[in-house]
């Protein structure tokens, strides 16, 4: 088996061993999902749609966004940073494997595990309680799955870079808080972007955060179709490539820093 896939498998297994963490994560995400749905229902106050988004669509939005927290882990992730501070990074760099691929493997395994035991159950429970919207066509389903994969790659490259800050500063937690504040704000996670003032919505959509969180949801809800859908996927591909390359560049600089000035 290729080292990358073996790493995914190992990390996936590890994720499944975290039973208590997964269950409490699921419970928390679910509770906030219900809470958000209740707020949206109050906000809509009987109107069928706001800015072209139906109440069912808005509730589905809330459920999807909550379900994606565990899978994307876009708003908090300090795993790599910890390995820099406890010295584990030394052993990892001594493995004959690209450091970026190694961590991508670890994170993909984590995401797969979280998808199965956090994201999927959460959305299914949500679907039991509310009248939700499903992708209108098979094409939307497929595009949604593809955009989920791309979203993970965007989220990973971003988090990878944020964590690499640990190569430069002895306490990169502040950098992390700021960076994850950005992703939280601009991902359209709080509220459907459709409900925001237009310029904020437009801006958020083109950031990697919007591309990571909002695009899969838009596709799922069938808000975009045809050429527009393709453009959304291309936007994701752009961010995957851009952030992936940037992450490699930052990594090369970081390793040079590490090996010249010491851990």
């Amino acid at each position: 088996m290729h080292a990358f896939f073996a790493t995914i498998r190992t990390s996936y297994r590890r994720q499944l061993t975290y039973r208590a963490a997964n269950l409490s994560g699921l419970a928390t995400n679910l509770m906030f999902g219900f809470f958000r749905a209740a707020v949206l229902i109050a906000l809509y106050n009987g109107q069928a749609s706001v800015n072209g988004l139906s109440i069912q669509g808005a509730i589905t939005y809330a459920g999807l966004a909550q379900a994606m927290i565990g899978y994307l882990s876009f708003f908090q992730w300090y795993e790599l940073m910890h390995t820099v501070y406890d010295g584990q990074v030394g052993s990892d760099l001594l493995k004959p494997m690209n450091y970026f691929s190694y961590w991508l493997g670890i994170d993909t395994g984590r995401a797969l595990g979280a998808f199965l035991i956090r994201s999927l159950p959460l959305f299914l429970v949500f679907a039991l309680f509310y009248d939700i919207v499903l992708p209108p066509t098979l094409l939307h389903w497929l595009a949604f799955l593809l955009s989920l994969v791309l979203a993970l790659l965007i989220s990973f490259s971003y988090r990878f870079m944020v964590n690499l800050a640990a190569f430069w500063t002895p306490n990169a937690l502040g950098v992390g808080r700021f960076a994850f504040g950005l992703s939280w704000t601009f991902s359209g996670f709080y509220m459907p972007l459709a409900l925001f003032p237009d310029w904020i919505a437009q801006l958020s959509r083109v950031t990697p955060f919007g591309a990571g969180v909002y695009v899969p949801i838009e596709i799922f809800l069938g808000i975009v179709a045809g050429k527009e859908l393709l453009n959304r996927l291309l936007l994701q591909v752009f961010w995957v490539l851009f952030l992936g390359l940037l992450a490699h560049f930052v990594l090369a600089r970081g390793i040079r820093k590490l090996v010249i000035q010491g851990g």
Binding site: A6, L93, G263
Partner: protein, 341 residues
């Protein structure tokens, strides 16, 4: 002699250590101008290691051991000097280089904390692209010698320190590295666990002909395992040579333990000095080079009635402590000038 597996020439690593201005204004000044001292963590050291050697690389805390190992494994780039290991410059060709070396850092683990030991070992097979038969053969052997079977399915988090160290040794060796860096492999272990690790290191070197660079501050590791020791302190090599010659040059003093048949208040004995007296039992210390043990024993039996006696070498720990304390420098007998002297 074959080509050395490790070649180190004039290796130097200098760190900048920043001096901060004191006080409130000083803290403000630190933002704009910072002064620093240059610290030579490793100061122009040179030595070679031949294939199949087991070399003890020792020194007190902060001597430069870890910095050297980091440069040898490619985790640090030297300020100047040359390193060639296995034909590679470690920090330049890291990915190709690390395929054929193994490393165990006693204070850390490469194993996955939350998974059964087996999962970590399986992953290593794929990371190092170890062929199935080699992997199974090595794993079978290490499971037996290191007695891993009782905890192969146990999460690494639940292993004792000794078990974890055995597991880490196995993990570092599955890919048949020709050269292994062992950094403090016995740290924190009890006597029995230490002994097991030492026996395994010996096996690795004798039976599998693996070249080993053993870093430790536990001198008894070195005394039991290594023929050759390299001692470093303050970034400089204080000694490089055979363990026995270390004793000859620095362990000059020997002990003579005498049990007299009757009590003598001050049983003086020529050039030997009394370092301990407990009723009839007296311990003398004498310089190996200035007087022989047999002469002393003759003198003793001529002047006193003796029940029993014993000649002892000063423990190697004491000798090495003396070297640290007195910063004794010693040039290689084979003519290789120690660059720092």
């Amino acid at each position: 002699m074959s080509e050395p597996i490790i070649q180190i020439k004039q290796l130097q690593k200098t760190f900048k250590v920043y001096k901060d201005h004191k006080g409130y204004l000083g803290a403000l000044r630190n933002l704009f101008e910072r002064q620093y001292n240059l610290v030579h963590a490793v100061d122009k050291i040179s030595f070679d290691v031949q294939p199949g050697e087991l070399v003890g690389y020792i020194g007190p805390n902060g001597a430069g051991k870890s910095t050297t190992i980091k440069m040898l494994t490619g985790l640090l780039v030297p300020t100047s000097g040359e390193v060639l290991v296995n034909g590679y410059i470690p920090w330049k060709q890291r990915k190709a280089y690390v395929k054929n070396i193994g490393a165990v850092f006693g204070q850390r683990t490469t194993l996955w904390w939350d998974l059964p030991l087996r999962d970590s070992l399986d992953l290593l097979q794929h990371i190092y692209e170890i062929p199935d038969d080699t992997f199974q053969q090595n794993l079978g052997m290490f499971r037996e010698i290191l007695e891993l079977d009782p905890f192969m399915e146990t999460p690494v988090r639940s292993l004792s320190l000794g078990q974890r160290m055995r597991a880490d040794l196995c993990a570092a060796l599955l890919h048949n590295p020709t050269l292994v860096f062992l950094d403090e492999p016995t740290i924190g272990l009890d006597v029995v666990a230490k002994q097991r690790i030492r026996e395994f290191i010996q096996f690795l070197n004798h039976e599998r002909k693996t070249t080993i660079l053993l870093t430790t501050h536990d001198i008894s590791d070195v005394a039991k395992l290594c023929k050759r020791v390299v001692i470093i302190d303050h970034g400089k090599i204080l000694f490089d040579g055979h363990l026995n010659s270390l004793l000859e040059f620095f362990g000059g003093r020997r002990l003579l333990v005498v049990d007299f048949a009757e009590f003598y208040p001050e049983p003086s004995l020529g050039e030997a000095e009394i370092i301990q007296q407990d009723r009839n039992k007296v311990i003398y210390s004498f310089e190996r080079s200035s007087i022989s043990a047999s002469k002393l024993i003759n003198q003793l039996s001529e002047n006193y009635r003796i029940r029993d006696l014993e000649v002892r070498d000063q423990p190697i720990e004491d000798t090495i402590r003396r070297i640290y304390e007195e910063q004794l420098l010693y040039n290689h007998p084979n003519g290789k000038e120690n660059p720092s002297s």
